[in-house]
Amino acid sequence: MLQTIVSGLEAGSWFALLGLAIVVVMKAADVPNFAMAEMGLVATYVGISMSGTGAPFWLCVLVTLVAGVVIGVVIDVALMRRLSKYGHFPLLLMTIGLSLALNALIGLVWGHAPRSFPAPWSGASVQLGGGVSIGVPQIVTIVVGLVGAVAITLFFRTGTGAQMRAVAENRATARLIGVDAGRLSAIAWGVGGLIAALTVMLQAQSALVSTLSPTSLIIYGFVAATMGAFTSLIGTFVGGLVLGLIQQFVGTYLSTAAQFSVALLVVFLVLVLRPDGFTRSVRLRDV
């Protein structure tokens, strides 16, 4: 039971964090970013390569996070911005293309073999009564996830929040009234990249990552984001954790084969019953 909860919270933290990254980009750039997990993976691989040269752990962490920010900003400036005026489809497709290209690029540069991010606490575990042991990386993930979520939420409490939503709703009009849309979307993409890097790095510390892992991670991330109605950071974070727990409990008490589908079905039910996710809804008047 405890084991299940911890595993669920750990996976849930990954989902929640990636969901947050998605929502943050959605907030200011209104792009459903399918390349989010790959972005995090590239950053993490940079960090892993770095640690392969014997660099100290914390430096590698720093490099990973900075790489995440840089990747995010570069993608925004080079690819996304100019497409924003054409609506969602091209943006969405661009992120799909980007995820394919990044994935292939990772394969070329780092190969397809799974890797892990060596941390001082890798492999360490805490023995609890009744033969239950909990990995230290699991605890680290859960704690860092929580701290990260709080930090991001606070960050978006600042005045830029409304400006970001304005940019997301209509970039052109926002610029018209003097909003520096470019700066805001760069911030959003940068923060998004940062969180993605953090997510995948955490995953790589306690599990393994490879060119294969983004596929399932991104789906879970989107599901978490959906639970937060793509707008609420807290809703997303809670949604991610709940999703992690659901799928862990389904695996443990129902069937591991149906884990994924049942978790998604639960989400489906939630959506049908609460069409606006876990957040209070913004009802718009459209007549």
């Binding site: 497709l93 799909i96 293309g97 070329l108 989107f222 079905l265 989400v267 049908v272």
Partner: protein, 358 residues
Amino acid sequence: MSETTRETETTETAVPPAAPVVGTAAIGAGISANAGASSAAQRGSALRKGIVAVAALVLLFAVPFVANAYLVFVVGLTLVYAVSTLGFNLLVGWSGQIGLAHAAMFAVGAYGSAVGIAHGIPFIVTIPLAGIGAALLAVVIGAPAIRLRGFFLAIATLALGMAIVELITFAAPITGGGAGMSVEVFTLPGITGSASTYFVILVVAAIMFFLVRRALIGRFGRTLQAVRDLGQLSGSLGVSPLRYRLVAFGLSGFIAAVAGTLYAQLQTFIFPAMFQMNLLVPMLVMVFVGGAGSLWGPLVGAAFAVVLIELFQDLGDQQAIAYGVLLMVVIAVLPGGLTSLWRTVRDSRLGARLRRAR
């Protein structure tokens, strides 16, 4: 594609200005259909179009006589994906609903046909049967889903789609489960296997294209676009948006399943893992690269997805990156998809200058 944003987005057109153009264009799933080559561009003599269509058909018909089995297979696969994309595009591009159960509907067609044949039903009969079965299933999925919008719809349908594929895996006694099942190939009398499959595909594809085109250029297509762009406001035009959304689900399910039956014939062996994200993503690419909401986009998109991969074979392990990069370039240059090329040129300053020069 956040829900809230969706509802109020002032559509931006392919034209730069912050035009507060047409009110809440994107109510449905947040699709400001950038392509919509549908109507304004569709004029022109019906006769000329007819001739082009017949010529294309004749060319396609000749393929097995002039090309080897591999090329026949590639063209056949392109046609199958084109049919499937036709349905996906109807749902996503025309009705504005990002329903992601399409790969699952495709699987239902493939398995429906394969299982049907295994139980003695002639292949040709399984085509409409599987189609109708999938249409019903799609309506069942759609009924709760059509009230959801944008990403909620996407995630909900993704969930149901995955559950369907999972069910196919569970139904091992009938479907062979995760190991898959082989499909008995239909042969036309006197024609070798691959050519025979190809001709069936060609005929079915031609019929599907003809009918879907017919439906979309007329009132039905206009109404779908109204539902997509006006959402519940289309109610004031006497249109029941929910009904049309549901119909779009059913139709796209039908078309996907018909394509699935053909796919099973081509592959001769099917297993559930074929129909998951690894199929869904290319399917989305086909819709968007061709041009969401366009009429010929599905064919162009399918050709892009299939033919390009074949052409890139010689790049070895660099082909995946080449494909991804090319995809990005296409979107960057033609955000409305490949079929928007003509319109982009026509509406550009260069195009205007050329016209004036003429």
